[in-house]
Symmetry: C2
Subunit: 343 residues, 2 copies
DNA sequence: TATTAACACGAAACCGTTTTCGTAAGGCCG
DNA sequence: CGGCCTTACGAAAACGGTTTCGTGTTAATA
């Protein structure tokens, strides 16, 4: 086993001091060319690489960023992660991922673990439970310590920090308008039961669109489903009891499941009922009929979040103090597919 | 901004030495109860938490594990990751994720970045390019340094280390037999064009099953598709020119796309053609007809990989040297859904 | 020849811990 | 009263780097 070689080893072997080795490897002016050549050759030969941990301790910079997401087996979050990872990697940063599993406690524990020097900053989307409890002390603690924080998608107004979101309400509004313009009159909304900021905003957009076009907002056409549900009884009942000609769903799973149900009940999609979802994942693309959906452009969000974070991390203290927090809004796009009739 | 407090601060404030503070916080016998109370109270008050980096440097243990996967927007890899993360977190480890993007170079760079002290061990699935080039020097380098390595799913025989895989060939064989038993005679195989170990093994299993049941292996019934393809022309041609009554696909995307195509061409699924895929993702579950598929149990794989790695990491040097490398085979299960006729 | 500047390098502090070892003070015993 | 053992703590080394500052040697200059 070839143990990792350190400056000390090189110094001893070449009979010079550690400082000389360190400087020689950085091509310092202070060191004679002879010595530099000797040291560099030796280092190359034994494949010397400085120890990241030691450097982190010295610089008080880890070149790691912490990402906390509610779930990782989730198309949207993985696309965001991809955007983060790409940008971070290009900037020489590594990414530590923690999954909160939608749990407040796990979110807190993970943050605390990472906040003790492991990372230079956080990028995160709040867990459902955190949003429900409205308790953000763990975030406040971190920002008060001067650790940069960027929130994305699932954000809160309670915390002052950089944020990256889509305009959920606007996207929902446009999606709803798309349905209205194609002649739909009784548009249902399938949303989540648990409290999520984004769901609330999408619902607001839906209501706005209906009102703006003089359509009544019918509460009985709003179906609230558990985030992860097994059987279809409640949606089935909804299909049986309600009369509607289009559905806006706050995610693609709701949409695809609803389409299946509609088809099983003999409704033609999109002729009898048309559907629009959120999140442009594999399901939207490959289900049949394929799903018209709001593309949240996760990769762009991730990249924007990483940009904001790293710029804050690398900023000198003075300018950082200016507290010029940004909220970046990533544009969305409605991707038209077979689940809506082309008007 | 409340800066992080260190042992030194506490020591200065309480007018004791750093060593005393350190020992007092660890409840050492050496320190009087009075002093311990004083120190602990102060530490709690100022929310002292030891600096992870300093501890890592001292212990030569980072409590980080490095995970390198070819892709993260990918159902199977995320389930594996979930398994890793859960187990690792429970054991007090954090996970640094790097995406090789199926590129050899990125894989090498990522490994080198992490190998210089950032992590205690690696869990990885090889990139397609690495498998094609058959170049594993970066892995060898890491293991020679004594850094534990666990390979999963995309593994190689060239490297001696722990491995976690499914029995791909057996799973493919069983899936094929399932089709044969339901009376299918001309079974096609849709596999990847690029060289992947797992695809090769699945193909072998497919061939074995046919031969075992006295069916001819028809090379023209094997379609090799690019890993990520846009348009369907080659599969379309295949559907037009070949005669088959079942298809085994090496992943769920190939399967779902093929099913769509079949339906568009007027074939009934599963009556005229039945399909079996690999990977039990959202697509398999929610497409219509839903897809019969081989569940690779990614979460179990991830957990097994993390178990193996952490046990090696925490093992004392002596026992580690025994070189008792394991290859764990995670059982697969064929999940029967609507794309095959129930026999 | 004395002064000085340039050169090339080393000593030491520092980042924040842990841990070994040394030691001052106090009490007990003979 | 001297020796010894506890008790309770501090000094210092160590982990692996970076960086500031000091210094010995040499060569150029006055």
């Amino acid at each position: 086993m070839k143990r990792k070689i350190t400056l000390k080893h090189i110094a001893r072997e070449l009979d010079v001091s550690i400082s000389t080795v360190s400087k020689a490897l950085k091509n310092s002016e202070e060191i004679s060319q002879d010595t530099k050549d000797k040291v560099q050759a030796f280092a190359r030969l034994y494949n010397y690489k400085p120890n990241n941990i030691a450097i982190s301790l010295k610089n008080k910079r880890t070149k790691n960023i912490g990402v906390i997401v509610p779930d990782i087996v989730h198309h949207f979050f993985t696309t965001v992660f991809r955007g983060i990872e790409k940008y971070a990697n290009a900037k020489g940063y590594n990414v530590i991922v923690c999954v909160s599993d939608e749990s407040f406690d796990k979110e807190v524990i993970n943050m605390e673990m990472l906040a003790n020097g492991s990372i230079d900053g956080f990028i995160m989307a709040l867990s459902a439970e955190t949003q429900r409890r409205n308790d953000f002390n763990h975030l406040r603690e971190v920002t008060e310590q001067g650790i940069p924080l960027v929130l994305f998608d699932r954000v809160t107004d309670e915390i002052r920090c950089d944020k990256v979101i889509i305009d959920d309400s606007r996207a929902a509004m446009e999606a709803t308008e798309r349905l209205i313009r194609s002649g739909r009159k009784r548009i249902a909304l399938f949303t989540t039961e648990t409290y999520l900021n984004v769901s609330a905003k999408r619902e607001a957009g839906y209501r706005q669109a209906l009102e703006a076009h003089g359509l009544p907002v019918l509460e009985e056409l709003i179906l609230r489903l558990p985030y992860q549900f097994e059987e279809e009884s409640s949606s089935l009942r909804f299909f049986r009891e309600q009369d509607f000609d289009a559905v806006l769903c706050v995610n693609e799973i709701f949409a695809v499941r609803a389409i299946r149900l509609a088809q099983q009940l003999g409704r033609r999609v999109p002729q009898d009922v048309s559907f629009v979802g959120f999140t442009d994942g594999l399901l939207s693309r490959y289900s049949s009929p394929s799903l018209t959906t709001v593309d949240q452009q996760g990769e762009l969000m991730g990249q924007a979040a990483a940009e904001l974070l790293i710029s804050k991390v690398e900023m000198e203290y003075d300018e950082n103090d200016a507290r010029n927090y940004q909220t970046r809004i990533i544009p969305t796009a409605l991707i038209e597919r077979e689940s809506t009739v082309l008007s």
